[in-house]
Each structure stands twice: as structure tokens, then as C-alpha cells.
Amino acid sequence: MAFLEINDVQKQFAQTTAVDTFNLQVERGEFVSFLGPSGCGKTTTLRMIAGFELPTSGRIVINGNDVTHKPPNQRNVGMVFQSYALFPNMTVADNIGFGLKVAKKPAAEIKQRVEEMLKLIHLSALGNRYPYQLSGGQQQRIALARALAIKPQVLLLDEPLSALDAKIRVSLRNEIRAIQRQLGITTIYVTHDQEEALSLSDRIVVMSEGRIEQIGTPFEIYNFPLTPFVASFVGTLNVLSATVTNAGSGLLQIEGQPIRAARPIESARDGETVSIALRPEIISMNGASAGEANRLQGKVEDVSFLGSIVRIRVRFENDFIHLDTFNNPHLSLPQIGQPITVTFPREAVLVLSRAASAA
């Protein structure tokens, strides 16, 4: 039995379904991210775990206890909000100690725990400051300490970094991960930033329009997306439509040009149209690589210089792909309008299980 179980949870607001049959088992100590665009239901799910929203149906079980109908203040769950939500009338130390204070813990114990927490987030000197005297990054670390001070069973983080500057975002991200590992606390992390999700998580739940699109490790999610949505939301995948010519041997056609996938196609039969995904970094131009590679002929439509890489848009008749190549001073960039042959290995052809709708 998993530590945190979310079974068939559904949430209906007036007319719309915010979350549709959500199922997830989280192991003790696991770090799971909910990733998706705004309005995909990730925050609603998190708020149901916290107890701020009541599921329309389904059960939420933490450590064997059904908490579905318990109020938030009896769940022993920690939460960090996007807007920090520090109590402005209290010092940093009082903020961190608040959960213990309302639990009527002895003052000495609170003091000791607060010091411990301040040390954990490396802000020991700031115990007597007020929130308005601190930077956003500091405030969010305090909020994290406050959530952890009550030794919660589960830690919930609702887009904790999105109000911060890019630089602090990265450093705080690493700190969150380090603290999570150190304490071994079961964590749910809500974000719309794929980079955050990929770098932090043990597993990622990709969501769209209230539904789970895919659950997997960052490696799986990035390299083997199951749906066009995951493919396009995580990384910058090229999604092309292709016609299956021989499913058994993985043969397809893209605008009349034949390519071959490494594995047989199971999700479609001959003559059907499927979506395939290609990572930009795996495609090369004019590659005279092994004879096994796929080749496609097109025209250079655009060349954009992105610093460490150069991104080239190659146009076929109706579709186009982006390919990335590392920048180096000796590179001779192709001219716009020039014909080009792009190559990619068979393993790179990802056939997506659901066809892209109206692509």
C-alpha cells in the first residue's frame, strides 16, 4: 500500500470538471510533480490533498488513514504557497513556530525546533526579522521551514518558485530538493515549468484539462512521451503527422517520403494517420551517417541563432520541423531557401499513441 493514495478523485465546479478520475499512488519519501498549463487541474488536486477543496467523488488516503473528509487543520500536511503567505504581523521565528504554538507545544520545544528549521534553510540570523524586511527568496525559504516545522506527513508545494527571479529560482530549486532528500519527506510539487519538474522529481504527473496525460520518471516523460500533448508540453518536440504504410515493420510516410521506426507500430493499422515526435537535438543536417538512418528532404525556411545552439526550421510541403545544432565558429550556416536533407536515427521516431487532434 502506498503512503499517499489518490483514488478515483473527481472535482466538479458548477458546470466544469476541474479534475477527472485522478489516480495516483505515491511512495513514502517520493518527490512527485504535477506538471501542466494553468487550468489543467493540478492546483485543484493539490488543494484536495490539503483539504481546501472537497472532492466530488473519490478517496484520498494518507498513511492508511482516509482523510477525504477531514478539515485541513487535522491532516498534518505541510503546504508552501506561491505567494509565500507568511503572516505579516509575526517575526520569522513566530511564523515558523506558529504550527507548534497552536498545537500547544511547550515554549522550549518550539524554540528549539525553530532554531533547527532556521539552520536547515541557512537563515539562522534572520529569526527576529519581519517578512516585509526579507527578499522573496528568503520569504519562500521561511515558508518552507514553517511548513516543515510541524513534521508533516506530506509536503505540498504550490508553484513555490514562480514569483521569484530566474536566478533565485534555480538556487532555491536545488535547495528544496536537497532538503527533501535530507528529510526524506513525501512531496507533491505543482508547477507549470517543465524544467523544474524534470530536474526535481522522482516522478512527474503531466496533466491537461483535468486529466492525467502521463505518469513517469523525468527520463520517460522527456524521451518517451505517450501523447502529443506531453510531447509538445515537455521540451520542444517536433510533432508531425505520418501515414502508416506497414505497421508490423514500422514503416511510415511523411508527405510521401518514407521513414522507418525502430519498433513495430502497435497503436495504428496500415493506412491510418498517426502523430510522430522528433526531438530537435537528435536531427542533423546533411548527415552522411549510417545507412540505417532516416532521411527527409526539405527547404531551409528560417535560421535562428540562440547562443549555444542554432535552430533551423526545415519546411516540407505542409509540415515543418525544427532541428538544433551546436554553435561553433567554423559552422557554415545554411542559406534560407536552400534545399536540405535532414537525417535522424530510427530510434528517434516516437509514434504517439493518440493522434494529434486537428494538427
Partner: protein
């Protein structure tokens, strides 16, 4: 001399064109400052000077000492009492109304209705307000008559009188609590949902949330607004005059009588009375702005 030298050194780098532009820019605000000096600072200055002058124009502290005469002390005290009662009473009632429309989960139209009424009622004061309360709670007022008819209860036999302390307080409340509603509603809006949620998830119940978080956060605004209400009642003249006809010995009514004719038999004492009011109002305004700044810092 040393001071002058530093000032000179400090201003020395200013180049001629900049100086010219500077003086031109000043021209735009001259009318305003002239007005402020003529009709605000100059009269205020004359109050100050007059308070320390006797009838012959010589310096004296007698006027200030006169403020501590029993009748004048009583007048100040009466004004302060009525201001305190209506500020606290109106403040609490206004707060409860604002709470009801912001966090009480009432339909939206009730909030906009309350805000409109508060805007009107907080501006409905003076002579017509006195008339309205005479028609309501006067000896033949509607409510007085209804209570007599329905319950055989004559409030005038039980110590109530519209023309004394409590009657005036009830009347003042009509503009006091709407003012509280207008000022405190935005502060209640400023209570962020996340604070409540954060306290809940940390294990606090509703009472603990209000005790440790919401009330402390609102306290500066609450106190500050009550101070404003205090000043609002303290300086009120027209309502009290129209209602009690100058019988109640409020400090404003006393100053009014002093303007009409030298009822205190000491023109200088009138200045001191006015100065005393300004001092009390200034203290309350300073208190208000101090509390306001504190709460702004928190609610940012």
C-alpha cells in the same frame, strides 16, 4: 557660521540654467502656497499667538491656564467622551457590517448596497441629520411613538433624551459607522485567503486564526480608523448645535458661543480653546497616520 558654509558648499555645484528652471517650476505652485499660507497657516498662527496674548496684546500664560478651569475641562471631557463612545461604538458596528459583506458570504448586491449607503450616510450630517433624528427619536418621533403604542414603553420615562449625551451619541452614530465601513472594508479585503489557509494547514482553528493572525493584522487599521472617527465626532458642530440648541456644553458649542459674543469674558481664552482642539485633533491624526503606515507595511 560653520553651518552656513556647509550649506553653501552643498549647493555650489548647481549650475545657472538649472537654477533658472527651478525657480520657473516654483511659479506653478505659488498660488496654492499663497492660499495655504493665507487661509490655513496664517489663521493657525493667529490662533497660536492669540492663545498667549491678553486683551492688551501682551504675552501671557493665563489663557492656557484657563483651559484647566472646571467648566472648560468639563466641556473638553464631554466632547472627548461623546467622541470616544461614538468612535468605539460606530467602529465596532461598522467593522461587523464590513465583516458581514466581505467575509460573511452574503450576496454581492448587499455589499455594493452597503457601500453606497455608507457613502451617502457618512456625508449626511449637520442640520438635516438632527431633523431626521428628531422625527425618529424625538418626543413625538416615530420610534418613540411606536414603542409607546406597541409596548406601552416610553423611552423618555426611562432616562432617554435625544437632546442629551446618549441622544447625541445615537445621532452621531449615523455618520460614524458608515465611515468605518468605507475605510475598513478595503482592509478586510486585504486579508489574503492564503493566510487563512496557511494557518489552517498548520493546525490552527478559526478562533486561533482570528486571535493570532487576522485581528493583529487588522488592529492598526481598526484603531487608526477609530481615531479618525474620534476626530470626526470631536470637531462636529452643526449636528450638535441643531439638535441641542447649544445646551450641551460641548467644546465646539462653547467656541461657537465665544465667536458670537465674548461669553467667556476673555477673548484670549477663545483662542486657547480653539488651539486645544487643534492639538487634540493633531495628536489623533498623528496616531492615525502612524498606525496606517504600520498596517500598509504589513498589507503590502
Amino acid at each position: 557660521m560653520a553651518q552656513l558654509a556647509t550649506v553653501e558648499k552643498f549647493t555650489a555645484p548647481v549650475t545657472p540654467p538649472a537654477t533658472r528652471q527651478f525657480s520657473l517650476a516654483w511659479l506653478g505652485v505659488v498660488p496654492f502656497f499663497a492660499f495655504a499660507i493665507a487661509f490655513m497657516l496664517f489663521p493657525a498662527g493667529s490662533l497660536l499667538v492669540g492663545s498667549f496674548q491678553n486683551a492688551e496684546g501682551a504675552f501671557t500664560l493665563e489663557n492656557i491656564a484657563g483651559l484647566f478651569d472646571e467648566s472648560i475641562r468639563n466641556s473638553y471631557w464631554l466632547s472627548i467622551q461623546i467622541s470616544l463612545v461614538t468612535a468605539v461604538g460606530g467602529g465596532i458596528f461598522g467593522f461587523l457590517l464590513a465583516y458581514a459583506v466581505t467575509l460573511g458570504g452574503l450576496p454581492k448586491f448587499i455589499r455594493s448596497g452597503l457601500m453606497t449607503f455608507s457613502g451617502v450616510a457618512s456625508n449626511f450630517a449637520g442640520v438635516p441629520l438632527a431633523f431626521a433624528f428628531i422625527a425618529t427619536l424625538g418626543r413625538v418621533g416615530l420610534v418613540t411613538a411606536l414603542l409607546k403604542q406597541l409596548f406601552g414603553f416610553n423611552i423618555y420615562d426611562h432616562g432617554f433624551n435625544l437632546y442629551n449625551f446618549w441622544g447625541l451619541s445615537v445621532t452621531y452614530m449615523y455618520f460614524q459607522f458608515p465611515l468605518m465601513v468605507l475605510i475598513i472594508t478595503p482592509a478586510l479585503d486585504g486579508l489574503r485567503r492564503e493566510w487563512r489557509e496557511a494557518s489552517e494547514i498548520l493546525g490552527a482553528n478559526s478562533w486561533q486564526y482570528w486571535r493570532y493572525i487576522a485581528l493583529p493584522i487588522l488592529l492598526p487599521s481598526l484603531l487608526g480608523t477609530m481615531i479618525l472617527l474620534f476626530g470626526n465626532a470631536f470637531g462636529a458642530f452643526a449636528t450638535a448645535f441643531a439638535l441641542t440648541g447649544g445646551q450641551l456644553q460641548l467644546i465646539t458649542l462653547k467656541i461657537g458661543a465665544q465667536i458670537r459674543g465674548d461669553v467667556l469674558h476673555n477673548p484670549g481664552l477663545g483662542y486657547a480653546l480653539a488651539l486645544g482642539m487643534v492639538v487634540i485633533m493633531a495628536i489623533s491624526l498623528i496616531g492615525y497616520s502612524w498606525l496606517q503606515r504600520k498596517s500598509e507595511k504589513w498589507l503590502r
